[in-house]
């Protein structure tokens, strides 16, 4: 009962945050610049275009009324029509979302595996040079943001030793028809190993750039948490019962040590998704972020609004899922 209540509170809080996001987006795009119509106009627009746009966005009404109309449309999923691409924004945005989701999830997987491996290694060989190496490596990786890692990877694996693709999402030469935009997911379902290989070859470098800072955070937090857990009596007890050190760390200490890191990793995952904007640009990966930058450069306001709100929705959703996961995984809360 108390659990249900806290979930409801959480949902309400999320709704308030999303409303705030809508207000900010509206303020930044509609209120701050002098003449929004002038900003929206493509070069060489006629008076008829101006009149049409003003009617379309209801700029003759008061700001408050404009906001309500706009909000009503947004809630119904109507973000208007993109000015530069002349298509419904919702359609454009949903077409690009799968690419960004696949990249983010790929990056998260790499980060968890890499960071987890580093933490386990550092714990297994604690007090030795191996642990020192893990500490220094994580410290370095953490101080450098994904943008710079992306550039370093481009230099190393795109130029110096060109074994990976550093631009695009898929080789045009493959020329296959996908029925969804989840290319990787679909290729796996269809067991097209050549396509999977090509997609991974394109995705690995941007995903790695996004993953390195998060992997470092996971390595640090999880190692700290593991070390604290390793001092607990039940771990000692497991040792006296004939389990090997590996087994003790993985089966006894790890499940308990993962919980405190989980919430922080959730927040960091939203940072990672935010990082896709510039990383997609850097690797010419056709996702949401790349489209967002184009939209800003083309002053395509409806498209920008759509993308920003979609990102905000994604972020709050991730946080919600992490909170629920924390409760589900923690027996102390589950049975409270």
């Amino acid at each position: 009962m108390a659990l249900l209540r806290s979930f409801l509170m959480r949902l309400i809080s999320t709704a308030i945050t999303l409303f705030g996001v809508a207000v900010i987006v509206f303020v930044v795009i509609r209120v701050v610049p002098g003449n929004p119509i002038a900003m929206m106009l493509p070069p060489g627009a006629t008076d008829a275009d101006i009149a049409r746009l003003q009617a379309q966005y209801g700029f003759d009404k008061s700001i408050f009324q404009q906001f309500l109309i706009w909000l009503g449309d947004v809630v119904q999923g109507d973000f208007g029509t993109s000015i530069s691409l002349r298509q419904p924004v919702s359609e454009l945005v949903l077409n690009r979302l799968p690419a960004t989701l696949e990249l983010s999830i790929m990056a998260l997987t790499i980060a968890v595996l890499l960071g987890g491996a580093m933490a386990l290694l550092g714990t297994r060989y604690r007090g030795t040079k191996a642990e020192g190496a893990v500490d220094i490596g994580a410290g370095m990786a953490l101080s450098i943001p994904d943008f710079l890692w992306g550039l370093v990877l481009i230099l190393l694996f795109g130029v110096l030793w060109p074994i990976f693709n550093i631009s695009g999402r898929i080789s045009p030469a493959l020329n296959i028809d996908f029925s969804t935009n989840f290319y990787l997911f679909e290729a796996i379902l269809r067991l097209r190993f050549d396509v999977i290989g090509d997609l991974l070859g394109h995705m690995l470098m941007p995903a790695l750039a996004l993953a390195i800072p998060l992997a470092a955070i996971i390595a640090q937090l999880l190692k700290q948490s593991l070390k604290e857990t390793m001092h607990l009596d039940y771990v000692t007890l497991a040792r006296t019962r004939g389990y090997s050190e590996h087994s003790v760390i993985i089966h006894e200490a790890l499940p308990n040590a993962v919980l405190p890191t989980l919430t922080l990793v959730g927040v960091q995952f939203t940072f990672l998704i935010g990082g896709t904007v510039i990383i997609e640009r850097l690797f010419s990966y056709e996702g949401l972020g790349n489209m967002a930058i184009d939209a800003v450069i083309n002053r395509d306001l409806p498209l920008i609004q759509g993308i920003v709100i979609l990102f905000a929705l994604l972020f709050t959703l991730v946080n919600l899922v992490v909170d629920m996961l924390y409760v589900v995984l923690n027996p102390r809360l589950r049975h409270a």
Binding site: T17, I144, P145, F147, I154, L282, V296, F311
Partner: protein
């Protein structure tokens, strides 16, 4: 008692010296750029485009680190780029720190409705992808040095607010704060004399970290051509140009990238080092 975390302490001195040293070199380069730069950073010479750095063949004297596709000297542009990077780092970092830390301190110490309002704004801010937010702001308020600084402050104050709020909350719960109040201090006075000194090490560490982030944000904005102006000598702009011609002229990308890498690393390591040095608990 042994160190409960079992962590080995890193050699603080070395870390501080290396990062501080690099930033000092950078500051000198920025201040004396007009004196030491071998060329005019804006001078184009299409006949000497993409000259390689001095140790390769086909170079021209005076262009130590080569030229870009428009024949502009890479070294000179980097030196002038240091000016812009450091101005952004200092001004944007300091402003962000003052605004964010104040809000965080108020939220964490006063709790109640100030906390609720500030935390709600932090939540809303956290729902925006920061890079996209920055790009959007610049697109709306226009390019230029002031716009960049403004955008960084608007976006990143939450970093300080979040961390300092949590710290101030922790400190506020301690007995020594209660006893200061019992002794007749005002709440505001207690905040400044009891809480602030205790969160100062964290603020200092965050400040230097933020300076590194400001440098990166400036580079990212230049990278998407939204920084100061298209031909202004910025590291991000050089990287952007280097990225497109990386297969023909690697040096246009590599040198600014190494500089940016070391600068960001130094700022964050300096922060960590200073924190260890000034933290009364660790010292």
């Amino acid at each position: 008692m042994r160190d409960a975390r079992g962590n080995r302490r890193q050699p603080i001195g070395l870390r501080l010296w290396l990062s501080g040293g690099w930033l000092l070199i950078l500051a000198c380069a920025a201040i004396f750029a007009p004196l030491i730069a071998p060329q005019d950073p804006l001078a184009q010479d299409l006949f000497s485009g993409r000259l390689p750095p001095f140790w390769e063949s086909g170079t021209e004297p005076g262009f130590w680190l080569g030229t870009d596709s428009l024949g502009r000297d890479v070294l000179s542009r980097m030196l002038y780029g240091a000016r812009l990077a450091l101005i952004v780092a200092l001004v944007a970092g300091t402003l962000t720190c003052i605004i964010g830390a104040s809000l965080g301190l108020i939220a964490g110490y006063y709790r109640g409705w100030p906390d609720r309002i500030i935390s709600r704004f932090v939540d809303i801010w956290m729902a925006f992808p920061p890079v996209l937010f920055a790009i959007l702001l610049i697109a709306v308020i226009g390019t230029g040095l002031t716009s960049i600084i403004l955008a960084i402050v608007i976006i990143d104050w939450t970093r300080f607010a979040r961390v300092i709020r949590a710290e101030a909350m922790g400190q506020g719960a301690m007995d020594y704060v209660a006893s200061a109040q019992v002794a007749g201090r005002t709440r505001f006075g207690t905040m400044l004399t009891e809480i602030l000194p205790n969160v100062l090490p964290t603020i200092v560490a965050l400040l230097t970290l933020e300076m590194g982030i400001a440098v990166i944000v400036e580079a990212i904005l230049s990278f998407v051509n939204l920084s100061i102006s298209t031909d202004a000598p910025t590291w991000g702009g050089m990287i952007s140009e280097g990225r497109t011609s990386v297969h023909q002229a690697w040096w246009v990308l590599v040198f600014p990238l190494i500089t940016l890498f070391l600068t960001v690393l130094s700022f964050s390591q300096l922060g960590e080092g200073l924190k260890d040095r000034f933290d009364p608990v660790l010292r």
